[in-house]
């Protein structure tokens, strides 16, 4: 198999990887904020439940979580889902896992805000929702951006875990090609692709960080 063919095949897989990456971010970033609110809730039941959820998501392997999401409906409830559920399972697994990590990042950012910002907003008559979205959150985002960057880079590499439930993303393809061709080349090419992917992610995040540096 010519190198160009390997590259072509892997690019198709890369498309799937990028999809997992984008959909996970799109949903887990806002969901994480919601979870962070739950975690900081004064309601003991809500904060207890979210705390347990975060603890489980962070304390067990993502690969195992993917298995549970994919096979769980059948083994636990005898619900037979169509094979296309495979992709949904990956999205669900990634989103609920990353939301838990993002929640803790949001929480650390929100709790690091000086109380004077809340008090000033309160005195000026802003509602709680207004002061959060106009005053607190923009500053929190700037503070947590380096931690978010870390997670996003990890996510790029984690998409390869979709291999465990046979989703045809880049790593699954590379592994299959490597076996059928008895060659390292597909794995090396995939490695280069992951690296370039992350290089671009890091570059973009740095740009955003610089953009937010207009104030201290």
């Amino acid at each position: 198999m010519a190198l160009s063919q390997i590259i072509l095949e892997l690019l198709k897989g890369l498309g799937v990887s990028v999809e997992i990456f984008a959909i996970t971010l799109l949903f887990s970033l806002p969901l994480g904020l919601l979870v962070a609110f739950g975690r900081m809730s004064k309601n003991g039941v809500v904060s207890g439940l979210t705390k347990a959820y975060i603890s489980i998501m962070r304390g067990t392997p993502l690969m195992l979580q993917l298995f549970v999401v994919y096979y769980g409906p059948y083994y636990l409830c005898h619900i037979k889902l169509s094979p296309t559920y495979r992709n949904s399972a990956v999205y669900i697994g990634f989103i609920i896992n990353y939301a838990a990590y993002f929640a803790e990042i949001y929480r650390s950012g929100i709790q690091s805000m000086p109380v004077g910002q809340y008090e000033a907003a309160d005195i000026l008559g802003y509602s709680r929702v207004q002061s959060f979205f106009r005053i607190i959150l923009p500053q929190v985002l700037k503070r947590i951006l380096p931690s978010i960057t870390n997670e996003v880079i990890t996510l790029v590499k984690d998409t390869s875990l979709a291999f465990s439930i046979s989703v045809m993303e880049m790593f699954t393809k590379a592994k299959a090609l490597s076996s059928s061709q008895t060659s390292m080349t597909p794995l090396i090419v995939a490695g280069v692709f992951y690296y370039v992917f992350n290089f671009i992610v890091a570059f973009l995040m740095e740009r955003i960080e610089k953009k937010m540096n207009y104030y201290k």
Partner: protein, 254 residues
Amino acid sequence: MNLLEMKNVKKSFGDLQVLKDISLTVADGEIVSIIGPSGSGKSTLLRCATLLETMDAGTLKYEDTVVADNASDGRAAYADKETLRKIKQVYGLVFQQFNLFPHWNVLQNVTDAVIHVQKKSREEAEKIGRELLEKMGLADKEKYYPYQLSGGQQQRVAIARALALNPKVLFFDEPTSALDPELTGEVLKVIKSLKDLHIAMVIVTHEMAFARDISDKVIFMADGVIVEEGSPEHVFNSENERMQSFLGRYKNIL
């Protein structure tokens, strides 16, 4: 009618009773200074008046709106949310640490609440904002971010931000305590210049000469009670022992 009326205010933090039984009235346009040693409860009193703290007991009234009153169990009961939200339009507060919003430039700091809380047009808000910045001597700074300004300039922006909402009474919580003497002077000068606006001011301060010169009424607090109050002449010439020992340290500058 009094603009602000606080009666028999009590407040404790755990076992520490910070306000023991404080009553205070502020008339329309009146300038009141509150002086006293650190830990005497001055700031807590201001924070109770501005609803940043809740009183344990006592009454709080702005004009004819009762914000809090003693319930049958003797503890202060606060009015409904809507009343509390509305009452915030009556007063403003200038903090010791300025508490400007660092992600907004000077003009936005001054105008944002005018636009998003008072729902005035951007055009009108910016007109109000620019006039106030001019009055504060900051006309050329509207595009600056707080971190680019000196402490004195930041505090003047904070004063403009509070004034932009057109309060009837403006509270100052040690407005110059975070500033060096040079910057203190410029901020005190600005506060003095607010006299022509005829809004009431309640100023917690350690600047004795300033308090004497600007105030209609001076209140001396110690250990959670008002020890002496009245005209500046009366308070600063008081024979009260506690007052004398406190003022002793300032005698040379008065």
